[in-house]
C-alpha cells in the first residue's frame, strides 16, 4: 500500500509537471487522480482491506498523499492561470492607429456659445435673465426710452415697421422699460435676444443679437458701471484686458459712453483686428437717464442706475476671428463643426 501510494504520488507529480494548460491539468490530472473514478478514490476503496491495526497509519498516509497532490495541482493551477492570462493579453492587441468610427456629437452655434459665456459672467455677478418680445410697440422701443416720435435719434437705428405703432425691436433696450415697470429696485438684469435693423453687409446683418444690462439701485455711479464692465472684460477676454470709456450719446442714458476693450489679440500693441489702435469698440453704456426712470415709475431722486448693450455677433466675430458676419447665418456644417470643442 505504501509503495502503491508513493507510486501514485510520483505519477501525479509527473502529470502535474507535464500539464501545459488548465484543461490538461483538469482532465489529465485532477480528474484522473482525484476524481470520482480517479486513482486515489480507488485507493480509498481499498482501505477496507487494510488490517485494523494499520488503518490509522495508512489512513494518515493516504490523507497526506492526497493533500500533497492537491497542493501540487493548486500551485500549478495558479501558475497556469497566470500564464494563460498573459498569453491572452499578448494575443489581444488592437492596432491603435486604425481610425475609429466618428462619434456623432453636435455643437452649439458660436453665437450661443458666446451668449452663454456672457450670461454666465453676469449671472455670476447677480444679474437675472429677462426676455421680451421681438415685435415691439413704438412706445417700448422708443418713447419709453426718451426717443419721441420724429426725434432725430431715431435715425441712429434703421427700423423695420409693420405699422405706425408696431416694429421689429432695434435693440434689447425695451426690456429695460418692461422690467422697470414690473419690478422695483434693486434691479440687476441682463436681457439677451434678437434685434433687427435694415442693414445688410459684411459687418451688418438685418438680424443680430444683443444683451442688454440694467442695474437700478440707490447710489449707483459711473464707477460702478466701470467696475462691472471691467469685470466682464477680464472674464470674457483675459485678466489683462482693460476697458476705456469715450463720451457718446444714447437718448436713454446720460452721461453716455462707448466702451472699448484693449485688443486681446495683440495685447494692445495694434493689429489687424483692432485696426492698429490697440482698442476694440464693443458696447455702448451709460447712466440711466432720469427721464427713463421717471417714465417707468421709479423715482429718479431716490434711485439711479446704469445700462449697457453688448453685440453678441460682434463679440463672436472678435473672439473667434470670424471675418464676415454672413458666415454666422449660412449654417454651413463645415463652419459649425469647427466649434465642436468650444465651451
Amino acid at each position: 500500500m505504501r509503495e502503491k501510494l508513493s507510486e501514485i504520488q510520483a505519477k501525479c507529480f509527473d502529470a502535474v509537471k507535464n500539464a501545459n494548460s488548465l484543461t490538461e491539468l483538469y482532465n489529465d490530472v485532477k480528474v484522473k487522480f482525484l476524481g470520482k473514478n480517479g486513482e486515489m478514490t480507488a485507493v480509498l476503496r481499498g482501505m477496507k482491506d487494510v488490517p485494523n491495526d494499520k488503518k490509522a497509519e495508512i489512513g494518515k498516509l493516504v490523507n497526506d498523499t492526497r493533500a500533497a497532490m492537491e497542493k501540487a495541482i493548486e500551485e500549478k493551477e495558479i501558475y497556469l492561470t497566470k500564464l494563460e492570462k498573459k498569453a491572452k493579453l499578448e494575443s489581444e492587441i488592437s492596432d491603435i492607429t486604425i481610425p475609429a468610427k466618428k462619434a456623432d456629437i453636435g455643437s452649439l452655434h458660436p453665437l450661443s456659445i458666446i451668449k452663454n459665456q456672457i450670461l454666465d459672467i453676469f449671472t455670476g455677478l447677480g444679474f437675472e435673465v429677462k426676455e421680451g418680445p421681438e415685435i415691439e410697440t413704438d412706445y417700448y422701443n422708443f418713447q419709453a426710452l426718451n426717443i419721441p416720435k420724429d426725434h432725430p435719434a431715431r435715425d441712429m437705428q434703421d427700423t423695420f415697421y409693420f405699422s405706425e405703432n408696431l416694429l421689429l425691436r432695434t435693440h434689447t433696450s425695451p426690456c429695460q422699460a418692461r422690467t422697470m415697470e414690473k419690478q422695483r429696485p434693486p434691479i440687476r438684469m441682463v436681457s439677451p435676444g434678437k434685434v433687427y435693423r435694415s442693414d445688410d453687409d459684411a459687418t451688418h446683418s438685418p438680424m443680430f443679437q444683443q444683451i442688454e444690462g440694467l442695474v437700478v439701485d440707490k447710489n449707483i455711479t459711473m464707477c460702478d458701471l466701470k467696475g462691472v464692465l471691467d469685470e466682464f472684460a477680464k472674464r470674457f477676454f483675459n485678466s489683462d484686458t482693460k476697458t476705456r470709456f469715450r463720451p457718446s450719446y444714447f437718448p436713454f442714458t446720460e452721461p453716455s459712453v462707448e466702451v472699448d476693450v484693449s485688443c486681446s489679440i495683440c495685447g494692445g500693441k495694434g493689429c489687424r483686428v483692432c485696426k492698429g489702435t490697440g482698442w476694440i469698440e464693443v458696447l455702448g453704456a451709460g447712466i440711466v437717464n432720469p427721464a427713463v426712470l421717471d417714465n417707468s415709475g421709479i423715482d429718479s431722486n431716490v434711485y439711479s442706475g446704469f445700462a449697457f448693450g453688448l453685440g453678441v455677433d460682434r463679440l463672436t466675430m472678435i473672439k473667434y476671428g470670424i471675418p464676415d458676419m454672413r458666415l454666422l447665418f449660412a449654417n454651413d456644417l463645415r463652419f459649425l463643426k469647427q466649434f465642436r470643442n468650444v465651451r
Binding site: 456623432d104 426676455e131 418680445p133 432725430p152 423695420f160 415697421y161 459711473m222 467696475g227 463720451p247 463645415r334
Partner: protein, 794 residues
C-alpha cells in the same frame, strides 16, 4: 459734418496739428471718422507755360508742345486747339492722378514722345462756376500762376477736411461755429464769432410776412436785398463749399449754403418778383395742393405739411425745398432772404412722406434753436456786403413766438459726485462750463448754470455732469464693483435652463445648432405646399423690407432649416443634422394691428441616405421623454411631409404639439434637395408648459421580473402600436413591452406578418411562480386573439 481746417481756424486760434486736434475731439465725444487731405485726390498736376508749338509729323490733328514747368521743359503731344504759346495750362505729369481717378503715364503718340497731358476743367473736378473757362471744351487756361506750381494750390484744393461724427443730441455742432466752440473749449482758447456787421440803404422793404401755422413755424425772418448782381462768388467761398461737397452756383445761392454750413442755419432766397402781392404766407398746405420743386418733382401735399406761399400759390415746401419757379436766376434783381425755425418733427415727417430731402431739411430735422435765425440772417447780409452783391434794405421782418434767451439749470454740488462716483475740483467744473459758454456760478453749494439757446440738450444734472466729465476725462473713472448696491440673486431663468438642457440633448444626439433669419418670403409657403387656408400663411408683413425674400416674419422654422439643408447639400455635405430653437410669429390677422403671439419652436432636420422615419421617431421620443409627457401619434396632415411617412404628436390633453417625418417628394424639388431629408417641428413652449415635473424617488422592485418573448401572427395592415398599447394596458404586471422583429415571407400566410415582442412582467407583491406566468400568458394570448385575431406563431 465735414469741417475744413482753414474754416475752423477763422473762429479759433488752433495751435495743434489736425491729428492732435482729432484726438482731443474724440475725447470730448466727437469722433473724427476721416481725415480728408483734399490735395491727395489730384496728384502730380502742375502749372506749365507753353514755350513752343509744332505740328506733329505723323498726325494732322495733333501738335507737339514744349512746356516749361520751372525746373525743366517737357514735350507734350496734344489734340487741343485752344492753346497758344505763352499760355499757362494744367499739366498732368508722368504718374499723375486726375480728379476722375484716371492715371497718366508718358508714352508715344504716333511715334512722338509725350511726357504728360494737358487737363481740362472737368479732369480737375471743376465747372464754369468754380473757375472761368473750366466749363469750356479743351484745355483750361490758367492765370496768375508760376510754372511748376501745384494745381491743388491754384484751385484751392489744399485744405484738410475733418469728417466729424456729431451725435443726435448736439445739433448745434452741425455747423462750423458749433465745432469751433468745442475746439476753443478743449484748447482753452477764445472763440471768435463770425463778422455779422452789414450796412443798409435807407430803403424800406414793402414785403409782408404772415405766419398762420405758428406751431410749425415758431420764427420767420425775412430781409430784402435790392439791386442784386448775380455773379460768381469769391474764390474762398467757392473753395470752402467745394471742400464740404457743395457745388458753387452763384453768389446768392452760395451765400445761403455758406451760412448753412458755417452757422448751421438753412437759408432760402426768393426772387421777389415771383412773390405775388409782396406777401409771404406761412401756412399748412391744402389737401391735394401741388408744387413742383426745384428738382423737377411734382409733390402732392396734404394739410399736415407746411408751405411758404404768396397770396396765390405755394412757393416752397417749408424748410425742405423751394418751388421750381421761385428760385434765383440770372435775371434776378431783388431777393428776399428767409431765415426761419420750423418744427423739426414736422420737417422730418414731411420729408419722409414726400421722399424729398435736402441739406436744409437734414439740418432742420436735427433741430435749430431760436437764436440761430438771427445770426444766420446777419451773416448772410454781411456776406452780401462783403461780396458787393446788392443793396440791403433797412428793415427786417421778424415774426416769432416769445422765447427765453437763456434757461437756468441748478445742480447741487454733491449731485455731480453722486452720478459720477468721483469728486471733481470745483474750479475745474466752473472753468469747463464757462469755457463752453454755459455761464456758471457756485451759490451756496449749488451750481447755477445758465444755458444758452443753442444748448437745448442740457436740461438736468446728468447733462451737466456729462459736460464736465467729457472734459475731465473718463480715464479718471475708477472701478467699483457695485460697492453700495444691495446683494441680488443672479441666474438664468427657467426657460433658459430648459432650453440649454434640450440643446445639450440634441448635441449629444449629433445635431448642430443653427441660427437662421426670422424674415422669410411669402413664396416659402408655396415651397412648403401649404394650402391656401393654412393658418401658417397668416404672417406679419413688413412695410419696409430689405426685399421680397425678407418681407414677412416666419410662422414656421421648417422653411429656414430646409434652406440650410439645401445650402449644405449644394456644398456637397452628404449628411448632417441641424436644429434650431427660435421664435415664430403668429398674428391673429393681418395686416398687423397688435403684437402677434411669439411662440418658440424647436425644429430639427436630418439629411442622410442611411436614415429612416424610425431614426427620426427615436430622436423625437428622446426629446419628449425630457418633458416627461404622455403622448400619442396620429397621421399628420402637414402638407410638406410625405403622407405615408409622417406623424403628429398629440399630448394626453389633446394638444397637437407638432409634426415630423420625411419631406414630401414635391418639397425635394422646391428646395433642390437630392439626399433624403427628414424634419420635425415641435411647439417648444407648449412642451415646457405641459412638462410633468419629477415626482421623486420610487422604491426599487422587491421581486424579480420575468421576460417572455412572443411571436404573434397578425394581419399585415394591423398597426403595431395598437398591439403594443393593448399589451401595456393589459395588466399592472406588465412593466415593459418591446418590439424586436417584424417578419413577412416564408412560413407566414399571405396578408399576415409575424411580430416578435418581448414582454417584461413583474409583481409588486411576490415572486411570480411558473403557474402565475402561465396563467398570465394564456390570458394575454386570449385577449390578443379576440382583439386582433393574433395567433402564436408555430
Amino acid at each position: 459734418m465735414k469741417v475744413p481746417y482753414s474754416w475752423l481756424k477763422e473762429f479759433v486760434d488752433i495751435d495743434v496739428s489736425a491729428e492732435v486736434l482729432a484726438e482731443k475731439l474724440v475725447n470730448i465725444g466727437f469722433e473724427v471718422e476721416e481725415f480728408i487731405d483734399l490735395s491727395k485726390r489730384i496728384k502730380n498736376v502742375v502749372a506749365g507755360r507753353i514755350s513752343e508749338i509744332k505740328k506733329h509729323e505723323n498726325a494732322d490733328k495733333l501738335r507737339v508742345c514744349k512746356v516749361d514747368i520751372g525746373k525743366k521743359t517737357l514735350q507734350i503731344v496734344t489734340a487741343a486747339t485752344n492753346v497758344k504759346i505763352g499760355d499757362f495750362v494744367p499739366l498732368a505729369l508722368h504718374g499723375a492722378v486726375l480728379y476722375t481717378g484716371q492715371e497718366i503715364k508718358s508714352g508715344e503718340l504716333r511715334g512722338v514722345l509725350s511726357e504728360g497731358m494737358f487737363c481740362g476743367g472737368d479732369e480737375l473736378g471743376l465747372t464754369e462756376n468754380d473757375m472761368d473757362g473750366a466749363g469750356d471744351e479743351g484745355v483750361l487756361i490758367l492765370h496768375d500762376v508760376t510754372p511748376g506750381q501745384d494745381i491743388n494750390e491754384i484751385i484751392g484744393n489744399n485744405d484738410t477736411v475733418l469728417d466729424i461724427s456729431v451725435t443726435a443730441n448736439r445739433p448745434d455742432c452741425q455747423s462750423i461755429i458749433g465745432i469751433a466752440r468745442e475746439v476753443a473749449a478743449v484748447l482753452d482758447k477764445p472763440f471768435k464769432m463770425p463778422d455779422l456787421s452789414f450796412n443798409t440803404t435807407t430803403k424800406k422793404s414793402n414785403i409782408g410776412v404772415e405766419v398762420i401755422a405758428k406751431d410749425l413755424c415758431p420764427r420767420y425772418m425775412a430781409h430784402e436785398v435790392d439791386n442784386v448782381v448775380i455773379k460768381k462768388s469769391p474764390k474762398i467761398i467757392r473753395d470752402r463749399l467745394r471742400a464740404v461737397g457743395i457745388r458753387p452756383i452763384n453768389n446768392i445761392v452760395d451765400i445761403t449754403n455758406y451760412v448753412l454750413i458755417e452757422i448751421g442755419q438753412p437759408m432760402h432766397a426768393f426772387d421777389k418778383t415771383l412773390i405775388e402781392d409782396n406777401k409771404i404766407i406761412v401756412r399748412r398746405a391744402k389737401n391735394n395742393e401741388k408744387i413742383v420743386t426745384l428738382d423737377g418733382k411734382c409733390n402732392n401735399l396734404d394739410d399736415t405739411m407746411l408751405v411758404i406761399a404768396d397770396a396765390k400759390k405755394p412757393s416752397a415746401v417749408a424748410g425742405i425745398m423751394g418751388g421750381e419757379y421761385s428760385g434765383i436766376n440770372d435775371n434776378t434783381k431783388t431777393i428776399i432772404f428767409e431765415s426761419a425755425k420750423f418744427a423739426r418733427d414736422n420737417i422730418r415727417r414731411t420729408s419722409r412722406t414726400l421722399n424729398l430731402h435736402s441739406d436744409s431739411s437734414a439740418r432742420f430735422e436735427k433741430g435749430i434753436d431760436f437764436q440761430t435765425q438771427e445770426i444766420g440772417m446777419k451773416r448772410a447780409l454781411n456776406l452780401i456786403c462783403s461780396t458787393k452783391s446788392g443793396d440791403i434794405c433797412e428793415n427786417s421782418t421778424d415774426v416769432h413766438e416769445s422765447f427765453d434767451a437763456e434757461r437756468t439749470v441748478k445742480v447741487k454740488q454733491d449731485k455731480i459726485s453722486a452720478i459720477l462716483g468721483i469728486d471733481i475740483n470745483t474750479d475745474f467744473i466752473l472753468k469747463t462750463l464757462n469755457g463752453l459758454g454755459l455761464n456758471t456760478e457756485l451759490i451756496n453749494g449749488t451750481f447755477v448754470v445758465k444755458i444758452p439757446g443753442f444748448r437745448e440738450d442740457i436740461v438736468n444734472a446728468n447733462d451737466v455732469a456729462e459736460e464736465i466729465m467729457r472734459f475731465y476725462g473718463y480715464d479718471h473713472i475708477r472701478s467699483t464693483l457695485l460697492k453700495d448696491a444691495a446683494q441680488t440673486y443672479g441666474a438664468k431663468n427657467e426657460h433658459y435652463k430648459i432650453s440649454d438642457r434640450i440643446k445639450n440633448v440634441l448635441i449629444g444626439l449629433g445635431f448642430y445648432e443653427t441660427v437662421t433669419y426670422s424674415f422669410t418670403s411669402e413664396k416659402a409657403f408655396d415651397s412648403l405646399l401649404l394650402k391656401k387656408n393654412n393658418k401658417l400663411r397668416t404672417a406679419a408683413k413688413l412695410i419696409n423690407p430689405l426685399g421680397e425674400d425678407w418681407s414677412v416674419m416666419r410662422t414656421t422654422l421648417t422653411h429656414s432649416l430646409l434652406k440650410a439643408v439645401e445650402y449644405n447639400q449644394k456644398m456637397s455635405t452628404e449628411s448632417g443634422k441641424l436644429f434650431e430653437i427660435s421664435k415664430v410669429f403668429l398674428p391673429k390677422s393681418t395686416p398687423l394691428i397688435e403684437q402677434p403671439r411669439e411662440v418658440e419652436k424647436l425644429a430639427f432636420t436630418v439629411w442622410d441616405k442611411e436614415y429612416d422615419f424610425y431614426n427620426l421617431k427615436s430622436t423625437v421620443e428622446a426629446i419628449l421623454e425630457q418633458f416627461n409627457v404622455e403622448y400619442d401619434y396620429i397621421t399628420s396632415n402637414a402638407e410638406f411631409l410625405h403622407p405615408g411617412r409622417s406623424a403628429d404628436i398629440i399630448l394626453a390633453n389633446g394638444l397637437n404639439i407638432g409634426s415630423f417625418g420625411q419631406i414630401h417628394p414635391d418639397v425635394y424639388e422646391n428646395y433642390e434637395l437630392n439626399v433624403q431629408t427628414f424634419i420635425a417641428e415641435l411647439d417648444f413652449e407648449a412642451l415646457i408648459a405641459n412638462a410633468v415635473p419629477f415626482k421623486g424617488y420610487k422604491n426599487l422592485p422587491k421581486f424579480p421580473s420575468v421576460a417572455r418573448d412572443f411571436a404573434l401572427v397578425v394581419d399585415d395592415n394591423l398597426k403595431i402600436g395598437e398591439l403594443i398599447t393593448c399589451i401595456k394596458k393589459f395588466s399592472e404586471a406588465v412593466k415593459d413591452v418591446t418590439l424586436f422583429d417584424i417578419y413577412k415571407g416564408e412560413n407566414i400566410p399571405q396578408g399576415k406578418k409575424s411580430v416578435a415582442i418581448k414582454v417584461v412582467i413583474q409583481s409588486d407583491e411576490k415572486t411570480l411562480t411558473d403557474k402565475d406566468i402561465q396563467d398570465f400568458t394564456n390570458k394575454l394570448l386570449n385577449t390578443l386573439k379576440s382583439n386582433f385575431n393574433a395567433a402564436l406563431r408555430t
